[in-house]
């Protein structure tokens, strides 16, 4: 049997499924942090991979990541309603509920609300980079690879995001 080159075929079901397993969650989290929940990041991930399947003949495995990120971003931008980014949070209940005073709990809630607003007001790039690093635990280099930017750029974005968040959260309403 003629031995084809080692290049895997994206049109192969197993190869395609493995690519989905490898990339889907990161893409989903990326879309969520960048655009918020109102724009259905789950659906966009589905659409991106459907398009990959349709074009499987034309995309080699090495190019898959940039393909799905490009498609996903375009789909988002084409989304009919460009709603304001809305992130959700579940306020973690303090461990020993009864030990906290109502004043403390109120202050905590207000702190979280300021933080939520501040996160939503960051630029998309700053927010995505910052949250992927601090919440998802992705290393600087990993994020650089994901977004196709330099490691230095990642460091700068995270630092700037932190600076802005601190200003807005500590000083309260500006």
């Amino acid at each position: 049997m003629k031995n084809k080159t080692n290049v895997k075929n994206v049109c192969h079901e197993k190869v395609f499924n493995d690519l989905f397993i490898t990339f889907s969650k990161d893409l989903h989290d990326f879309l969520y942090y960048k655009y918020g929940e109102a724009n259905n990041p789950q659906d966009i991930v589905q659409i991106a991979f459907e398009k990959l399947w349709k074009n499987c003949k034309n995309v080699i495995p090495e190019k898959v990541k940039s393909f799905i990120y490009t498609v996903a971003n375009n789909e988002m931008l084409n989304s009919i309603s460009r709603k304001k980014t809305v992130l959700n949070y579940t306020l973690q209940k303090p461990k020993d509920y009864t030990a906290e005073t109502p004043e403390f709990l109120l202050e905590e809630k207000e702190y979280h609300d300021r933080l939520k607003k501040a996160l939503e007001e960051l630029s998309e790039e700053q927010r995505v980079t910052f949250l992927l690093n601090r919440v998802d635990g992705k290393k600087h280099q990993e994020i650089a690879d994901m977004l196709g930017i330099s490691r230095k750029a990642v460091e700068k974005r995270i630092y700037t995001a932190l600076k802005i968040l601190r200003e807005k959260v500590e000083l309260g309403e500006l």
């Binding site: 499924n17 969650k25 989903h28 959700n88 579940t90 996160l119 949250l131 919440v135 998802d136 460091e155």
Partner: protein, 304 residues
């Protein structure tokens, strides 16, 4: 080192142990640490790769089927339809397992085992239908009424009822579909429910219900299987008329009521094994009285 550099290097995990210790004891760090802690509560929602892959596979397979059809030129498309119709016609008159006699519906009590040893338990007056032959490729089962499913991990498992479709990969859940009442409860694993109103994904302990066109999510606590499997019908904030309909099914009776508010919400349960006790359980909390006909087939309900 400037402050900015120090923070940047701390962010990149590049400080030496002593530098880090020193930085982390400052007041400034306390403030940053609080912020970093609070930020964690903005984590993206859980992304279930298995379920999403299942959804994608279904979608992609459908598109594949359609595009194959479109590639045929018009004459062949017509021929394709006729051939398909002929094959369907041929097989329904043949030994197509699961579609003989009673048109393939199974309505037995006790556990019904499916070809992959997943199982389904049917409640009163309920029935299921599925194809033995096709089970390997796709596990599709039709349900009329209410059933509790134990699904072994494998290909996508779909439960289709008039008001919706439930999709799972391997888990335990209950589906209830009667007139104007659609309910799915997840006991283990996770299920996706597609109904006319909405698409939701349920985790263990959560449930989704559509009553008279209004949908809501709610929780059920600490249950591994529905109560009716152990002979008890229970309800949480359900309009009374649905409770009565369940009684009718369980006991094969007909209930006639006069001047009763059938929309009032009922929370409670009744036994499936003793009609009188069951009637007490329903009537006492809502201040009604009942009368059983001589031949035990008709119940009259009215205000106390």
């Amino acid at each position: 080192m400037t402050n900015e550099n120090k923070i940047k290097r701390w962010l990149a995990d590049e400080l030496s142990d002593s530098e880090r210790e020193q930085f982390e004891s400052t007041d400034e760090f306390k403030e940053i640490d609080r912020l970093m802690g609070a930020v964690k509560s903005f984590k993206a929602p859980e992304y279930n790769i298995e379920i999403e892959l299942g959804k994608l596979t279904e979608q992609v397979v459908n598109t594949k089927k359609i595009s194959l059809y479109n590639k045929l030129n018009p004459v062949w498309r017509i021929a394709a339809i006729f051939i398909l119709v002929f094959i369907i016609g041929y097989f329904t008159y043949d030994n197509f397992s699961g579609f003989q006699g009673n048109q393939g519906w199974i309505a037995q009590s006790g556990e019904v085992y499916l070809p992959d040893s997943s199982s389904v338990i049917l409640n009163a007056k309920s029935k299921v239908r599925f194809s033995d032959k096709k089970w390997q490729k796709e596990r599709n089962i039709e349900l009329n009424g209410e059933a509790f499913f134990r699904v072994k991990k494998g290909s996508t498992f779909n439960v289709k009822t008039p008001q919706g479709t439930v999709t799972v990969l391997g888990t335990e859940f209950g589906v209830k579909d009667w007139d104007n009442y659609y309910e799915v409860i997840c006991y283990e694993g996770s299920v996706r429910v597609i109904s006319d109103k909405n698409t939701v994904v349920l985790q263990p302990g959560s449930a989704y219900r559509v009553i008279n066109g209004i949908d809501k999510n709610f929780t059920v606590s600490n249950k591994t299987e529905p109560d009716w499997i152990r002979g008890e019908s229970s309800f949480k904030s359900v309009p009374l008329n649905f409770v009565i309909k369940e009684l009718e099914r369980q006991y094969e009776v007909q209930v006639k009521s006069t001047n009763i508010d059938l929309n009032q919400l009922f929370t409670g349960s009744f036994t499936n094994n003793n009609l009188e006790i069951a009637l007490e359980s329903i009537t006492i909390p809502v201040n009604l009285k009942y009368e059983i006909s001589k031949n035990k087939t008709v119940i009259r309900l009215e205000e106390n």
